[in-house]
Assembly symmetry: C2
Homo-oligomer: 324 residues x 2
């Protein structure tokens, strides 16, 4: 059956047989196709559905950002549909196609780990579907919401210095990812601002895991001049540091300071509890929706819009040398 | 503009003016409405999209189940759209409407905390859209995937008995929720199977939180005959128990045993690490998709289908009295 036949059958065209019309109509009904739905969309021009593309559902960070988006979007009369990509480029492309198929009014997205080709996002732009990125952002001229990793890391490093730690090391995430490069630079800048010379031996390149936190700590402790504090690029790494220090019988925070980044769910429950930077995930989700909503409402957009969310320090036991 | 006019314009009906046709067609194009999409759906009868309704995105449990669903669904050529309800009945209804609007081929759902009215799900059934529930399941004749809380709790309690703990208490979740009632009954049955008389003073009614774990522990310790172990209905409660025992300077596991339920992300990182039952969340998601896919493929369904996922014990430090 051709598209033309379907169209005619749906509009009761006299040249189409009653049988064909019945088949098409039943199928159309099953698919919940209704002409008045199009008529309604014609009046408002909108479906009141937005799509949110996330790299993985197995990470509390994205769950919390979604919570922020859904929360504000529902107050504005929008339904939110989420698509998880399992960190795979193929599923990311499929997610975008599904959103287009569902005729979403706009898309909020965060990149999967290995996405290097942005054609699917450029297709969204060509269709004039409003698009906003958050956290993991491509090098494209598209509005986005990110965390201020540089200043957050500067703050954390300064705090360790203020607490009296003398040799502060850093276990980074992969430095080719902007997010982690920013945190490394914030650490470096804080040392410089305090006239502490940067020692590249004190930087261990980790991979966002408990294991790399443990491995990095073992390596740093084996140096001729070991550090007495570590600023970790994120909380799983910091958790690994705490675990290794416990094994090495080094007391935190008396002998050694540890500072993380993310305020992951577990960080307040470690022993000692972990000082870290809160990423304000719910706020990030709300800001992403606000930005998208502005674009939907105003029709046009300022592609250079970049909202920078300020991370908030959460000082717990692992960095408080002075009170001990 | 009426639905009839839109239908006619789309099918190039001679009575509709060129201007109206142009408006409708442009709008239809903007909405990505295409007659051949309907024709294509007519041929396959499917959109290859399924909807997943979750109570909240701020809980690692649901993120992990989604991961299981998406993983298997994508292998079967399905896209998965997720809708978070923020534990609100209103958003649950809206989510279902959005899924119907997106013409999903099937829906997998878990109930929000206060959902008592199931009309929106009955509407899904009336439309013959395949529907499967997981974890939080209504009292309806609809296929579902649940965890075997009774036997998991029996196992945990038996383990505490085997380790030599003598008075085993239980801090429950809200007992009007089936999930938590099952766990309470499993605890009770294990005591009975070991000829240990059930003492209602040893059951504290909690509310799935760290605070209620702490409060319950304080209460139980204040009894004339306090317990020397607690089986908690879930891991946040167990975490609260560990925190309170630390404050009360009671050593775990030497003096006191603690067992949780869920294997929440943080449970391996507490001090001491928490023994718990793993809910096999990814498997639960996969089973839910398999069940849904069977219904989609076979057209009919056995409404009594109930898949029961077996929880797996994860023995860590908090319950191992014997090795100490």
């Amino acid at each position: 059956m051709t598209a033309a036949t379907v169209s005619r059958a749906l509009s009761d065209h006299p040249e189409i047989s009653a049988k064909t019309k019945a088949i098409v109509k039943e199928a159309a009904q099953r698919l919940d196709y209704k002409a008045n739905r199009i008529a309604s969309s014609l009046r408002s021009g909108k479906t009141h559905v937005i799509g949110v593309l996330i790299p993985t559902a197995e990470n509390a960070f994205f769950g919390s950002v979604i919570h922020g988006i859904t929360n504000l979007a529902s107050k504005h009369g929008y339904s939110v549909l989420i698509h998880e990509c399992d960190e795979l480029y193929e599923l990311e492309v499929k997610g975008i196609q599904t959103f287009i198929g569902a005729r979403v009014d706009g898309i909020i997205a965060s990149l999967s780990r290995n996405t290097l080709d942005y054609d699917h996002f450029l297709d969204v732009k060509r269709r004039n579907i409003p698009l906003v990125f958050f956290d993991r952002v491509p090098d494209l001229d598209i509005p986005s919401v990110v965390i201020d990793g540089f200043n957050g890391s500067f703050w954390a490093t300064q705090h360790l210095i203020d607490q009296g730690y003398k040799r502060i090391a850093h276990i980074s995430g992969p430095l080719y990812i902007n997010t982690f490069n920013d945190r490394f630079k914030g650490y470096e800048a804080a040392l410089k601002a305090n006239d502490i010379s940067f020692d590249e031996n004190l930087v261990f390149s980790g991979n966002i895991s408990i294991e790399s936190g443990m491995e990095g700590t073992r390596h740093l402790l084996s140096l001729p001049e070991p550090p007495d504090a570590i600023f970790a690029a994120e909380d799983f790494t910091a958790l690994g540091i705490l675990k290794q220090l416990k094994i090495s019988k080094i007391h935190v925070p008396e002998q050694f300071g540890v500072f993380g980044f993310c305020n992951d769910m577990f960080s307040e429950h470690t022993t000692p509890s972990l000082s870290t930077m809160d990423q304000q995930t719910v706020l990030m989700g709300q800001e992403a929706f606000k930005l998208l909503n502005q674009i939907i409402e105003n029709g046009n957009e300022d592609n250079s819009s970049k909202i920078v969310v300020k991370p908030l320090p959460v000082i717990r036991e692992s960095s408080l040398k002075k009170v001990h």
